[in-house]
Amino acid sequence: MRVMAQMSMVMNLDKCIGCHTCSVTCKQVWTNRDGMEYVWFNNVETRPGLGYPRQYEDQEKWNGGWVRNKNGRLKLKSGGRLKKLATIFSNNDLPTIDDYYEPWTYDYDMLTSAPQTKNGPVARPKSLLTGENMDIKWSGNWDDNLGGSQETAQDDPILAHMSDHVKMEFENTFMFYLPRICEHCLNPSCVSACPSGAMYKREEDGIVLVDQDDCRGWRMCVSACPYKKVYFNHKTNKAEKCTLCYPLIEQGKPTICSETCVGRLRYLGLMLYDADRVLEAAAIEDEHELLDAQRSVMLDPFDPAVISQAKKDGIADDWIEAAQNSPIYKLISEYKVALPLHPEYRTMPMVWYIPPLSPVVDVVSNSGNDGEDVRNLFAAIDKLRIPVEYLAGLFTAGDTVPIEYSLKKLAAMRAYMRDINLGNEANENIAQAVGMSGAEIEEMYRLLAIAKYEDRYVIPKAHVESARDLEDFACSLDTDGGPGMGGARSTGDIRATDRIPGTPIDSTVASFDALRNVSDPSEPSTPGRLNLLNWNGKGITNGMFPPAGSGSPA
């Protein structure tokens, strides 16, 4: 057993209203640059729908992820090491920018500088690739809310696996939103396909990153990722991907997509897993067993054996505690309501989803029945094959049992809590019908429905001893024996008066926070006196004014 920690996310799809706030804030923070116009580290797809890039789930076309070969070992679907090097001159699995969309801007200048004419000027769309006028035919969420899906939805790779009658009537049946970020997989195929070794998984928190200095632009990661969440920056010609906002995570803060989520549907927390068992679990033959295999790789953070091994493997006590308090552990391993996206890609994804019950509730309610009655809901889950099968195509490689299990728990929670909210007596039978106690249901309700900020995000800070290195405050002269010899400073020392003037402060979140809190750059050496030479002009320093209420200066 080798214990590693993984920062993971769960999204509660029932609460997603498809507002795209996560996508927009993510774009503002990470991808509002040249060459990244088409890049959405976070996107929200309407399902059924094509996804982004179009039909990314069709691995017969893109060859992403892993496959199990005859010997029972995992192989990259796009080919092994030799084939990768032999075909490095042209990656035929690579989506072109047209599979995403051609980025454009508008000729806004026309609106203000056009000469007076009979007809008002218009701002025509101009391609950012060619500079020419273009027709906008597709974009990041073109089939939002099933828009135009009469034309396109038959190309949804999940629907293609379902029977014909489903394809005809799904539109009247259900719809939901699927927000997607990088899965930060335990067995990442993008990292495995990178010829340069520029992609890596961080030992401490499992975040998958691209070293921009090592990337040589071979593009193998883009095609190897079955979720198509590695993008090619067509200006810098390097791969870029979702970073799980690691500068924030290291500070114990949630990612920007989570922080700004209007529906408060995202959960962040640690999972401990057994790194030695990842490959074995990912190579299980039956695709339907992949979900349980991945669950079995996750370790119980309360198990004394796990705790002692975690300590041996260098996981700090506060991180183990964070893993015990992790909402992710509760949702994945305790309640078992969260499910992975496309486990059949065998990458062991670590962004999981609670399947949406609302399509079922809508059908029951629209038919004039009580959409919160547990019997109606259970019957609907059993009878409404279309949403259940569709969800199974997304989350369980087609196995409907875990989907029904998860949906019934959500239905039971809804019905049980309704009784309580209406002041009726709580019905313990409802809880028992899904193998839970009433207390457990209420606990789950707190996590899923109340969803307090501190319950949703349990993020331990990066270690203090290594956080010091994060700050980059050290002066170049501070080497051992060098003239500075001040040594590295810790976070709080951003205000230290012995900082050599002119040394750059790195623009990390930590230094920003530290600076923002500086109202008092120089503690007066003598109480009650102020050295104005050290005052940075911000805030009110001790000793600048006499204490409030005192009649005379100290």
């Binding site: 690739l129 990178c194 890596y200 090619f232 010609n237 402060i505 600076l515």
Partner: protein, 268 residues
């Protein structure tokens, strides 16, 4: 040595050494200061139908060309004869393998260059340095092919039937450069097509580190030997670049970093 002109020494001694120095020092400097710019600058996301033919043809062709040049230029013909490869045998092999491989390379490059001109998206990202690089690359290839066809293929039907034996002139000249005992007299009587081929190739080496060709030095052979999943500690790689001193002039790429940094330090 009496018949060497100043121009001969400049072209066949000074120029190759300048190019070699530029190639080596240029790569070291580029690697130290512009790792971020070290990429093949692929345009495959813009256009893939032409590239999927042109690029493999060109690259496999040029790899064959490279091997041929190593055998023909760096290995003395006496060594090959020791293994029983006579002048005639070598000539036949080199000529026909060279023509085939060279034709594939030229065809591949022609596809890639036509694509670059015809596809507007690709044309828009073509830099001045790309154009210069393409000129030298194409020039070198074309002159090389002319030399082969003119002297080795057509020349075969004239006496002597062995074509032009560059292994008596160009090859020892190159080895004399590598051994730091440059002897320009080897190059004096060499036919014009060969001379132009040598000059354009030397020019290509001169500009090499400053073009997209740097990706040639990044052939990812280590991929064959490393484990699939790479783990790195945050502590080892907290940032891509070492933090520079405050007074050091920042390279262009640093302009993409937040300006806040400078502002904060002046606030102190």
């Amino acid at each position: 040595m009496s018949d060497l002109t100043v121009l001969d020494v400049l072209l066949w001694v000074a120029f190759p050494y300048i190019a070699a120095a530029s190639f080596i020092v240029g790569h070291i400097l580029r690697y130290r200061y512009d790792k971020f710019g070290w990429t093949s600058r692929s345009s495959q996301t813009y256009e893939t139908k032409w590239l999927r033919w042109g690029s493999p043809m060109f690259h496999y062709g040029i790899l064959g060309v490279f091997v041929g040049h190593v055998v023909g230029l760096l290995i003395p013909h006496q060594w090959l004869e020791f293994f029983g490869i006579t002048e005639h045998l070598y000539h036949l092999g080199a000529t026909w393998a060279g023509v085939i491989v060279g034709a594939i390379t030229v065809a591949g490059l022609a596809i890639l260059m036509a694509r670059r001109g015809a596809v507007r998206r690709v044309l828009r990202v073509t830099t001045a340095m790309d154009v210069i690089m393409y000129a030298f690359l194409a020039g070198s290839l074309v002159f090389g092919m002319i030399a082969v066809v003119q002297f080795q293929v057509i020349g075969q039907f004239q006496a002597p039937a062995t074509g032009y034996n560059y292994r008596e002139t160009v090859s020892p000249w190159i080895r004399s450069l590598i051994l730091f005992q440059p002897d320009a007299t080897f190059m004096v009587g060499v036919p014009l097509a060969f001379k132009l081929h040598v000059l354009t190739s030397t020019g290509l080496f001169l500009i090499w580190p400053f073009t997209r060709l740097v990706h040639v030095l990044s052939v990812p052979v280590m991929y064959l030997f490393r484990p699939y999943v790479v783990y790195r500690s945050r502590d080892d790689h907290r940032g891509a670049r070492a933090i520079r001193r405050g007074w050091q002039k920042s390279p262009v790429i640093d302009s993409t970093r937040p300006k806040q940094k400078q502002k904060l330090s002046s606030d102190r």
